[in-house]
């Protein structure tokens, strides 16, 4: 009986994993397609599409832009989220429920609405669309996430730890920098990396709020609109590999440490 259910479980898990990996395997496979069409049947294997994307200045620029936007906007979101979480967890503010609601509100609103609204308001302010405006939009999207993650990890237990530091003579900024931030480092890093992931793959806001310097998803989108091309599969595979490498590094540094 136990063997039977184990076999069934293995079969089920195998099928779901197959389902989950199917598009990625096909994606990577057809990135080596020898021919201009990334469609079945597979004609042969070639690396020329990889050469093509690495020598494509626009694509590489978009890759760089994506990295900058993702890292900077996530860092800003984390700093703002951390400060706000600290304020709400450690002090009593009037109408704090409402204010907290305001900070997490963008999470429940579709990015399309956020992007459209920002577009019209930025236009009124006279700020030109650029990577900066994309970054602003990404902070709006990621701030609720960073705030929620960091706020959730600020338990009452840490209040005493901060009190202890203050009691021993630490000033407010010392408490925050030497005690609170390092103590919450795992959740701050988790918020940061999650934000980077979201920002990295975000399309709609990046599409609406950029002009000439675009992020990778926008570049891929316009590449796709201009016709079939195994380059899209190649860049998709590269994005996948970069993300997996990133994940492995994160796994080995951040979470390993937390587990020990």
């Amino acid at each position: 009986m136990r063997h039977l259910t184990t076999a069934l479980a293995a079969l089920y898990a195998g099928l779901i994993y197959l389902f989950i990996f199917l598009p990625v395997v096909v994606l990577v496979l057809f990135s080596f397609q020898d021919g201009t069409l990334p469609v079945p049947p597979l004609n042969g294997l070639t690396l020329r599409w990889y050469e093509a994307i690495f020598s494509d200045g626009k694509l590489m620029a978009a890759l760089g832009n994506s990295l900058i936007v993702a890292i900077v906007s996530s860092a800003v979101a984390c700093v703002l989220g951390f400060l706000a979480a600290y304020a709400f967890a450690r002090y009593t503010l009037p109408a704090s429920g409402l204010l907290r609601g305001l900070i997490v509100a963008p999470m429940t609103v579709s990015t399309l609405i956020i992007g459209l609204g920002l577009l019209s308001v930025l236009n009124l302010t006279g700020l030109r669309l650029s990577l900066v405006t994309v970054g602003i939009g990404h902070v709006v999207i990621n701030l609720p996430l960073c705030f929620a993650i960091i706020y959730a990890s600020m338990g009452g237990h840490q209040v005493n730890i901060e009190r202890a530091a203050r009691d021993l003579g630490a000033k407010d900024w010392q408490v925050m920098l030497l005690i609170t931030a390092p103590m919450l480092l795992p959740s701050i890093l988790a918020a940061f990396f999650l934000s980077v992931t979201f920002s990295w793959d975000e399309f709609i806001v990046a599409f609406l709020l950029s002009r000439f310097d675009v992020t990778l998803p926008v570049e891929i989108w316009s590449m796709l609109r201009s016709g079939l091309d195994p380059r899209t599969n190649a860049i998709g595979s590269v994005v996948f590999l970069v993300s997996v490498a990133f994940l492995v590094v994160m796994e080995l540094t951040v979470f390993r440490k937390k587990a020990s």
Partner: protein, 363 residues
């Protein structure tokens, strides 16, 4: 280093709740004071006011003669040892203990030296590179003590530091705490709800209830001569026998209880001899119902019948019924009380404490 502490008319109101109600207390330098009371009695609020974590709504605090009422925790000559220890989880023991010195700008070498000497004091020097989560509860408690003492506070505030430990370890730590206090000479203000712990370590105990101080004194005086019903009940088991004063003489009074009339010496009245006609309560510790030793003046409350008995090692705890009143008596371990047996309810006159109803708050 050490300093005296003086609290004057401290009141703290949280919304509609009076956590602390006009409390005044003087603590001598080098004293080991224990604030004792049930949860919600205001003892932790009082400690927090001493530590500067909350400001009193009114009243003042001075330490070593300086007004500290509005001084931030960092600038007070006090440190606090927290109930959950509040060790910095991301720092090793050496850095935990050295943190306060680092905040005072002390150089690394000097700081480490001092941290090591304090870890030595609590017997954890060998573990100085460990992180708090690698330690046992008792060890963490010692690190917290070392960290709090590292900055040479005048007053150390301890917020139920032994609450999380098991009984055996707690006894051991009580002894160590007392020993260390005697060694460093710092004024200790210790909060607990465990009256045994209070008696084990305190020079003086402050019994608190509902935001007020009920009683202050050495462990023995509080136990033997409680000044309020609450204090008497909280410090251990007690029989409370309602009574009415029927007549008074120069140094004794006659009171009437459900168990008959008895004559009591004036010294039994902790708040002074009560006037005729006043309602009072006789407070009798169960272990005082012991026969023999009739060479001192005794008082008899008639006879009672044993209705239940359990052996507690140091004594037999018996339920006794007498004239419709239920009493508890602790009989010597060598006795062999039988259910249904009669018991002579005779006790030494000076072991009875008479409390006037409504009285209790001292000073």
């Amino acid at each position: 280093m050490t300093a005296d502490v003086s609290i004057r008319n401290a009141t703290k109101v949280f919304g509609a709740f009076r956590a602390l109600d006009d409390v005044s207390l003087d603590i001598a330098a080098g004293e080991f004071i224990v604030l004792l009371g049930p949860s919600g009695c205001g003892k932790t609020t009082l400690l927090s006011i001493l530590g500067g974590f909350i400001e009193p709504t009114s009243g003042t605090v001075s330490i070593g003669g300086h007004d500290m009422t509005h001084v931030s925790p960092a600038k007070r000559p006090t440190t606090t040892m927290f109930q959950d220890y509040a060790l910095f989880p991301h720092m090793c023991l050496r850095d935990n203990v050295g943190f306060g010195l680092r905040m005072r700008g002390m150089g690394k070498a000097e700081r480490y030296e001092k941290a090591f000497s304090l870890l030595d004091l609590v017997g954890l020097r060998a573990s100085s590179a460990k992180k708090p989560h690698e330690l046992s509860g008792g060890q963490r408690q010692r690190v917290a003590l070392a960290r709090a003492l590292a900055v040479d506070p005048d007053v150390l505030l301890l917020d139920e530091p032994l609450g999380a430990l098991d009984l055996k370890l707690r006894r051991q730590m009580q002894d160590e705490l007392k020993a260390i206090q005697k060694r460093v000479g710092t004024t200790f203000v210790h909060v607990t709800h465990d009256q045994e712990e209070a008696m084990a370590i305190a020079d003086r105990i402050v019994v608190m209830n509902k935001g007020r101080i009920e009683d202050v004194g050495t462990p023995a005086s509080i136990y033997m001569r409680p000044r309020s019903l609450f204090s008497a009940g909280f410090m251990g088991e007690a029989n409370f026998l309602p009574a009415k004063v029927r007549g008074t003489a120069a140094n004794e009074a006659e009171v009437e209880t459900a168990l008959g009339r008895v004559a009591l010496p004036a010294s039994a009245f902790v708040a002074g001899l009560a006037a005729t006609g006043r309602d009072v309560t006789l407070c009798i510790r169960p272990e005082h119902f012991r026969n023999g030793n009739t060479d001192v003046p005794t008082v008899s409350l008639g006879r009672g019948r044993i209705t239940g008995s359990a052996f507690f090692g140091t004594h037999h705890r018996c339920h006794v019924a007498a004239d419709g009143t239920s009493l508890t008596a602790h009989l010597p371990q060598t006795d062999n009380p039988q259910i249904g047996a009669e018991l002579d309810l005779r006790l030494k006159a000076d072991s009875i404490v008479v409390l006037q109803d409504g009285a209790g708050v001292v000073e």
